[in-house]
């Protein structure tokens, strides 16, 4: 259970308790209470459950006083838990290669190809024709010929999408980690 005296220890990564937020997130009913509290619509309709208690912080503090201090970190026994070396936690596990790619891919519009040969004189690029790649939609090839080396096989297209998603994800990650 959280305890103010251990807070700095948590921040320094010395203890590895289960994240309360994660369990809050997984506990739909609890997460729901907070969401509903914040939705204007529900409040307008006075649709707030009678037992909802806004004074949560003091309740938690009161509960803490009675709790024994838990010293042993709880170690997950899930088979895919990565062992920790010191404080370093790997940022990503390779979970189902296509799972993450697919979830990001749905939000990305992949353009059908900019002809770099036309750009040498730095004239403004033509308006990019974009074909939305949402879900399993196949790209429309602009090439009339089938055997053009510029067209990609289905496997290559999938590979390209995975790569694009990896770059987009890394771009986000790098922004998060900006050290100043």
């Amino acid at each position: 259970m959280p305890n103010n005296e251990k807070l700095s220890a948590f921040i320094d990564g010395e203890l590895k308790d289960e994240s309360l937020l994660a369990s809050l997130v997984k506990d739909e009913k609890l997460a729901d209470q907070f969401s509903r509290y914040q939705l204007i619509g529900d409040v307008m309709r006075d649709d707030v459950p009678a037992e909802m208690n806004f004074d949560i912080a003091s309740n938690v503090m009161a509960a803490l006083d009675d709790e024994p201090t838990v010293m042993a970190p709880q170690i997950k026994t899930a088979s895919n838990k990565v062992t920790l070396k010191g404080n370093v936690v790997p940022l990503f596990k390779k979970v189902g290669q296509y799972a993450i790619a697919a979830s990001v891919a749905a939000s990305v519009v992949v353009g059908v190809q900019l002809n770099t040969a036309q750009q040498d004189n730095l004239t403004p690029a033509p308006v990019l024709d974009t074909v939305p790649f949402i879900g399993g939609a196949e790209p429309v090839s602009l090439q009339a010929e089938q055997k053009d080396p510029n067209t990609l096989t289905e496997e290559q297209v999938l590979e390209q999408r995975r790569k694009i998603n990896a770059f987009l994800q890394d771009h986000q990650l790098q922004q998060r980690m900006l050290q100043q």
Partner: protein, 365 residues
Amino acid sequence: MKATKQLIAIVALCALPFSSFAESEADTSASADPTSASLQTLANNVTPSPAQDEQSQAMEEAKLSNVEDESPVAFLQKMIDSFATLNYDLSYIQLYEGLVEPKRFSHGVVDGKQISYLSHLNGPPKEYVQRGEHISFFEPEIEPYTLKSGHFQGNFFQLVQQDISKLTVNYDFVLAGRGRIAGRPAQVVRMSPRDNDRYGYLLWLDRNTSLPLRVDTLDLEGELVEQMMTISLRTYKQATPWIQELTIVNLPPIVNVPKPSSEQLSPWQISWQPKGFELIAQDRHSLPVIDESVDYLMLSDGVAIISIYIEPAVGQPRDLMPVARKGATNLITAQIKGSMITVVGEIPAETALKIAKSVTYKRAQ
């Protein structure tokens, strides 16, 4: 850059008269009750007590009368300060050319520390908690982690945390009329880029609190590329119970990000970049998921961030290279002299291509 900004914000917080907390103590039960929280937006639906109503109306009028005297830069500075120091719940959507992502951002200051919570409301749950300098990331399929000096990514957060002094070089700031967003009167400020190599921004700021209500990212033709639009904004005198809860909740372990030593200079250099962009990071690392090694450079002009990835080219060079876009973020790949160069950033695709073509290998290494 960011660290000093945050320091300034936190110092400003300490200077805030704590009496503002004291005076609300008599009102604690009322301020915990969301119906009394933001009188302006709730006025139509909830009947506040008459005394409160007069008081808030007088406050609003006093604030609004000063608006005409403000310069656009002063307005934006107020936005930056408000974003970091006020207690509020901001429900908004982000629009990327037909794709809508609703989000909720809650913010408060507890004991001088900024606490915030960002949640993606649709699709797989993604949540982020900021506690002072630390940010924790909760995303599906990924073990939750905390960064010691983390940042929220994206155009919107870059804008509300910007260092204005850096931006006046690259953008013109102009007052651009008024509007009404999420039921609130707004002042519009335009950030016009001084060249054609970056996007422009149109910001609607709440005339009462200066918080951002709407941000349009515009391309060179003035077309909308990405948009942040507030659906509801509620401000509070003190931090909400949810924010207070976040000050004590367990957060995931901290991930140490290795700092590249000064000797590890990149073997690559960029011979052309848009005016006002600086190199702010360089290293060699692995891409997530596919685990491929890349040389990496990051440029920024204070608002837009550009990532440049360099790796050896594989296979035959192709004339046609893929382009991807999500809202303001463009990704472009070009094969140049045996290297595959990918540029990702909140800049027009044409600019990204120019940068890709200007990447060269340093001779002396």
